[in-house]
Amino acid sequence: MTELLKIDGLTKAYPGVVANDGVGFSVRPGEVHALLGENGAGKSTLVKMIYGLVKPDSGTMHFAGQSFAPADPRAARAAGVAMVFQHFSLFEALNVAENVALGMENPPPMRQLAKRIREISTAYGLPLDPARLVGDLSAGERQRVEIVRCLLQDPKLLIMDEPTSVLTPQEVEILFHTLRKLSAEGTAILYISHKLEEIRTLCEGATILRAGKVVASCNPREKTARELAELMVGAELKVTDRAERKLGDVVLKVSGLSLAPLSQFGPSLKDLSLELRAGEVLGIGGVAGNGQEELLATLSGERPSALGTVSLMGEDISGLGPNPRRAKGLLAAPEERLGHAAVPAMSLTENAILTGTMRKPLTRNGFVDQGAAKTFADEIIQAFDVRTPGSHVAARALSGGNLQKYVIGREVLQNPAVLVVNQPTWGVDAAAAASIRQALLDLAAKGAAVIAISQDLDELMEISDRFSALNEGRLSASRPTQGLTIEEIGMMLGGAHGMQEAAV
């Protein structure tokens, strides 16, 4: 069979980094082709060139037998390339049909469009009500809107960037059915992910990128997940050391905690309860946007809760702000690194002062001790292998993974009694992620209690002793992670959020 998309010697350089270096691969019609690689390996740059968002410095592309050099996404769409981005571009206050119409060149009348949406979405097993407000939809349903928007263009090639990061296991199943059906009809799919098991079930071909170069092409079904991972990383993977931990007394107790939503479509927290013992890691799973941020904010003290709801070592701390909580040993590392966990324009030294003054002697009579702050910053950089020219560098100059190591390291090195982290390895490369997980485990081994909030279920299975699911602001009862199956976790996460696959 002839190739639908053929890429040869594609190169794109940015100041200081070659994002793509002579990349070449091809996709046949109807093939589900995986693009694998760590963060920063060049996957995004590559698909952006195919979608016309970025212009290659050199190299050629052929699409359906013709030379292909899209000047902008419109040209790419006209040729038959569609893309579903990892971050949705939807307006919450508009309904499904209106959102779809906004992305079209010449939208048909609303009534006709609604009919088309209903037809297409049902035909592909992704039923959608065109009249519903996007703000009321779950993440999985929002993704459907994006997919349907693409399918209305009748694409020959569909690019999907990390589509399952926002889905529960059951929702992933439904999505895979849709993708297989599309593939059977001849639509090629370029599938970007770093979830190896998914790729092994879905894809027939895979191109693996490392540091901007193609390092391997293979049939993922013929490789083990471990082999794929090592191809991605280019080194043997270290397995985290989960040494036997001794559980101590209950250090953190949350009971009947409720919190109003921050924004109109934001989740509220509903009657949360949990208990955490010294030396224990509690994993809280769930799709982002179900109250994860709110839970961290209320535990860190940014949004204190009603009296009597949170107690640390028997003492009610519900009304306290972040600094008194830090003084008592409850530390936190939020998900958003830039602007929440760290100040982008400030140096690493100044960012060490941000949370460090309560437990480290960084101030004298209220005056900042620059020397001590720099020493602390250097200590974090050293202990957590943060790659940076020095502690004088602004936080925003660091890569996501390096800054994440810095932010986690800053809290870990303050010897917390309880540490709450949200998405500790989000957007972090595999090696850095492994070292962050190890740091959390080491912290627990020393007798601290850790709450890890994450969307990455594999990660939670790897580090946590007990697992709870946070879904629509409710926290499930916790269960020991040993012996927990992925189906059981999926059900704890709310199953398919009431989404159904249409009988086709």
Binding site: P15, L53, V54, K55, D57, S300, G301, E302, G321, P322, N323, R326, A332, P334, E336, L338, G339, H340, A341, A342, V343, P344, A345, M346, E350, I353, L354, T355, T357, T363, G366, F367, V368, V393, A394, R396, A397
Partner: protein
């Protein structure tokens, strides 16, 4: 094509160079403006920037420099604290008037009793007047989420009307033959903010401005409170995470601006101005906003910027007198300075690249 490329770390060089660049660009654009008005541009710039320092009557004008720069620096230091935190107090002019009214009221009540305590008490009352006036937008913002920009600005006009009422009514000089305006405090030794060194323009307000520079430097660049204020301006979420309580920050940001502006008003009414009249305020509170930004919200920068602005004030007066330039042209000239400064600011965080650069 020109593209802006974000710098990973803000440029140290440009953060110092942009104010100078802005001054130069203002001279050029101002020169063009003056040329359009039919004046000789080089001569106009010389009258504004050169003559007050080194011209014929420079010895008089050099004294005026400190008199004008004192209140500007004092007010700008207080404003900078709020601006750093992202709290936009535009109403320093009103707080300045209230500081003057509070302290003048005390002095006029005590008249003609002499006491060493009167002047310090006036200082306290001046700061209090400005502080309380600034607390109105602060409390409204905390309780109801109103915009401090609008409320503080509108309170300037309330303060101006209050000032006029006081000048024509309760504080009018009973021995003033019906002329508006209060007694002249320059004739009341206990209340008079006299020159400390003859002919230099150095009075207690200038001393206060220098103390304010040192105090603000210590607070903003050495103390943890200042660090948190700066965090709040840079990244509000990170500030809450660091334990900043937004309501307290609003109170502090507006309160300090108000107190410093009130102090400036007090030193002015008891010294250079001498009396409460309906034309007592001359826009120091607004010009101080420019001074604060021209000085990069840094106390040392503000010190230099205050002197520069004072120069344009005096030079502007001279240009009006000698060249017949309209006063509006001088205000436009001062406005240009802020405009260019904000525009060139982009260089601190971005570098400019000429030619095609793909996204």
């Amino acid at each position: 094509m020109i593209t802006l490329v974000r710098r990973p770390t803000p440029s140290q060089f440009w953060s110092y160079a942009t104010p100078l660049l802005a001054v130069i660009a203002t001279m050029i654009a101002g020169g063009i403006l003056f040329a359009i008005l039919g004046k000789h541009p080089v001569e106009a710039i010389r009258v504004i920037f050169w003559d007050p320092l080194f011209g014929g009557n420079a010895s008089y004008f050099r004294g005026q420099l400190l008199v004008k720069a004192g209140p500007l620096i004092l007010i700008a230091c207080g404003l900078a604290v709020g601006f750093r935190a992202g709290i936009w107090n535009i109403g320093a002019e009103g707080q300045y008037i209230m500081g003057a009214l509070f302290s003048a009221w005390l002095a006029l009540k005590m008249y003609p009793a002499e006491s060493h305590w009167l002047f310090p008490a006036m200082i306290v009352l001046g700061a209090l007047g400005g502080f309380l006036w600034a607390m109105i937008p602060a409390v409204l913002k905390v309780l109801f989420g109103t915009s401090e920009i609008l409320v503080s600005l509108m309170l300037v006009y309330v303060a101006e009307n209050l000032l006029a009422y006081m000048a024509f009514g309760p504080l009018k000089n009973p021995e003033g033959f019906g002329f508006p305006g209060s007694r002249n405090l320059q004739d009341y030794p206990s209340a008079f903010n006299h020159e400390l060194i003859e002919g230099t323009g150095m009075h207690w307000g200038v001393v206060a401005a220098l103390i304010a520079v040192i105090f603000t430097y210590g607070l903003m660049h050495r103390h943890i409170t200042g660090f948190r204020i700066r965090v709040a301006g840079e990244a509000p979420r990170a500030a809450r995470f660091a334990g900043v309580i937004p309501a307290r920050l609003v109170m502090l940001g507006l309160g300090m601006g108000g107190a410093f502006a009130g102090l400036a008003g007090m030193f002015e009414v008891s010294g250079p101005s001498g009396q409460i009249t309906d034309s007592f305020n001359v826009g120091y509170g607004f010009t101080a906003i420019i001074v604060a930004f021209l000085g990069r919200l840094h106390p040392i920068g503000i010190l230099l910027a205050g002197l520069l602005m004072a120069l344009t004030y005096i030079g502007g007066d001279m240009a009006q007198l000698m060249l017949g330039l309209p006063s509006a042209a001088i205000q436009v000239f001062q406005g240009m300075l802020l405009f260019f400064l904000l525009a060139f600011d982009v260089l601190t965080n971005f570098r400019i690249r000429f030619g095609r650069v793909a996204a």
